[in-house]
Amino acid sequence: MLDYKNIFSINPFSLNQKEKEKWYYNQQKILTAYHYKNCKEYRKITNKIYGSLKRSKNITDLPFIPTNLFKDFNLVTDTKYDFSKTLTSSGTSGYKNAKINLDRKTSLLQSKALSNIFSDILNKKKGTMFVVDSPAVFSGSNLLNARGAAIKGFSQLVDKSVFLLDKKMNLKINILTDFINSNKNEQFIIFGFTSFIWQHLVKKVMKNSFKLPANNGILIHGGGWKKMHDQSVNRNVFNYNIKKKLGIKKIHNYYGMVEQTGSIFLECEHGFFHSSIFSDLIVRDANLNVSPLKKEGLLQILSLLPLSYPGHNILTEDIGTLEGIDDCRCGRKGKYFSVKGRVLGTELRGCSDVN
């Protein structure tokens, strides 16, 4: 199995692609063989689509699976650890949700990786995190949706986390103002889904022509821009209003999904998502060939963390572009990319109404 101890000892953004690539390929090969051996469905897909396991020459040859399989099948890789929880995607209504089975080991790796990735932007671990969400997100069972999983994950990076919304999604802004007023220079985190932060925090603050005092907050958000684009809010508008109305100077978006919790892609100061030591990224064209730099395609993302389900190498439904390797102005090494959004659904044709 993988030497996670070693992996966690490396600064997550310090390896250049050439250093990383061969090592990462070998790690993925081990992981692929592991899932092949222990997951019946993954083995079937590999045999029928890729022929067999032995043919790979580099990382782009390794068998990947489309993310929407997690919606149709309950994919599990046999594990000696107990299953701790099941994650579900916060899918739009009318769509099936993905189901991810986590054992204790995978769960633990995920939170460690998340902490390592964020240690890069948070100069100390302790502090308070304000969550733009409602405590109702936790149902109490071991079924956890993507929002809840993200909140749980990030809560482990801080001493204390506080919900900013009540059960009816009303904003309790005074919690935040009180904190800033009594802890003037202290660093804190505001965390939430992009659309929640816009809907329940920024818009409400704007509506009441309210402004937060200058502060040392860091805003971390993820979950995608689809709902925002529907309201014609792009990254610039979003960031501008947060800086202006909330007085927050540091804003970090991240790209991640419930199929690869933990090994998220962090957005840097220049607006690009960065692959960490835990992850890698391949862009593919309509023929599933690897797209060159700067050319749009389907995003395939890899992670070293999933052990209890075959999510280590997945083809997403997102379109994005590999923007560069090792040379981002932020100084982080490795691949960096941008995400455009979901592939638009082609019109379904045919005689059957259910598709």
């Binding site: 689509i49 309509a286 082609t346 044709r349 045919g350 005689c351 059957s352």
Partner: protein, 397 residues
């Protein structure tokens, strides 16, 4: 007919409840109406852009309908059963028009639920029909049908089902299951068009004998059968069964020609690629069939297998994906046919050979055997029913 929810129903053409009465099958004024329709579709400049509309226009011309009527008229005295409810599939724009025509030609009054999506060709056809119905000689036709639209609603569907004499339910298994739950009069007849699976059977030795031009034409026909509706029509072939007696190079030739045609004519994008690979992965999990996936690019994906089993219908092939099986003798077909089989498009042998196999073995699948190129030619005989015959009431004497 009492329609409680009439407010939620959008009437596109005609009026509900229907005032007209059934007539004899192939009644003159109705045949003339369809001929007028045929002429006007052909004349209409906007129809040109829609090959499916043009095809319907050509189909409903007088000469064709008269020819069709000859199959019925001599036998018995037949007239429409009464009111027929048509539930058109949401994804095939012109299907409703044929369903409507079968209902009219069999002498019935017709309530047709149009697809919920707004297809341009439907809009054009409705405008043409509306114009024709304004002419004095066709005014009465408007009493005989109604085109409606409504958002999926159990209440409305159940109201509409309560008092009809027949229902034509297109739209696949899920829609049928839904409609079977509603109460209908005891004598009401249902024609249900469920999810189906279709294949092509090709004899390689005959394919080898074609000239290059002939072969190209042939592959073009296969392309039309499979790619035109993203290979999602119930009669689109999802598998090719090669009756392969000797040389296999001819099969590669076939795929190369198809690849050229697809490259020129079929637009692919990232979303299709994503759906395609997802479907293949799903099939890989769902079936126990061993297949090998082969593609040089994603335009054509070949899933090759040696497993000759009725389970092949579980491998879902769309957007240019084909299950491929080689068999030695045509007789082996019987080993892979299931109930779900609808159309066999064929090349290189006589359809009677296949018919014999069906009869001899009591096969429950295969409702249509047509040459390659005619997969989507719809007619009153469909899914094993004679729709016109079934919708008519025969008066015995």
């Amino acid at each position: 007919m009492s329609i409680k929810n009439s407010k939620k129903i959008k009437v596109v053409l005609g009026s509900i409840p229907i005032k007209g009465k059934p007539t004899i099958i192939f009644e003159k004024s109705i045949v003339n109406f369809f001929n007028e329709l045929s002429i006007n579709i052909k004349k209409n400049k906007r129809s040109m852009d829609y090959s499916d509309l043009m095809t319907f226009g050509f189909w409903c011309r007088k000469a064709n309908i008269i020819k069709l009527s000859e199959n019925y008229l001599e036998k018995n005295f037949m007239l429409g059963r009464g009111n027929v409810l048509h539930i058109a599939p949401s994804n095939v724009p012109m299907n409703f028009a044929y369903s409507f025509a079968f209902g009219m030609l069999s002498g019935n009054c017709n309530i047709v639920r149009l697809p919920s999506k707004n297809f341009k060709q439907i809009e054009i056809l409705c405008q043409i029909i509306s114009k024709i119905c304004k002419k004095s000689k066709f005014k009465k036709i408007l009493n005989k049908f109604c085109f409606i639209k409504y958002d999926k609603s159990n209440e409305i569907s159940s109201d509409l089902s309560r008092d009809v004499d027949a229902r034509l339910i297109w739209g696949g298994d899920e829609t049928i299951r839904q409609f079977k739950m509603y109460k209908t009069p005891p004598r009401c007849i249902d024609l249900s068009f469920s999810d189906r699976y279709s294949i092509s059977v090709i004899k390689t030795s005959k394919l080898a004998k074609l000239t290059n031009d002939e072969r190209r034409n042939f592959v073009r026909k296969f392309y039309n059968d499979s790619y035109l509706m993203d290979q999602q029509g119930c009669s689109s072939p999802q598998a090719i069964i090669w009756i392969c007696d000797h040389k296999k190079e001819i099969i590669n030739k076939f795929w190369n020609i198809l690849h050229d045609i697809v490259k020129l004519n079929y637009e692919k994008d990232l979303s299709i690629t994503n759906k395609k690979i997802s479907l293949i992965a799903k099939s890989a999990i769902k079936t126990n069939i061993n297949f090998k996936t082969e593609f040089k690019d994603m335009r054509i994906v070949r899933l090759r297998t040696n497993n000759i089993t009725p389970e092949i219908e579980k491998i879902q092939c769309h957007f240019g994906t084909f299950t491929e099986i080689n068999i030695k003798k045509i007789n082996d077909i019987k080993k892979l046919v299931s109930r779900k089989f609808q159309t066999v498009t064929y090349f290189g042998f006589k359809n009677t050979e296949l018919e014999k196999i069906i009869f001899k073995n009591g096969i429950t699948g295969i409702d249509r055997i047509v040459p390659i190129g005619r997969a989507h030619d719809i007619g009153p005989i469909w899914d094993g029913y004679d729709i016109i015959y079934t919708l008519a009431r025969i008066i015995g004497s």
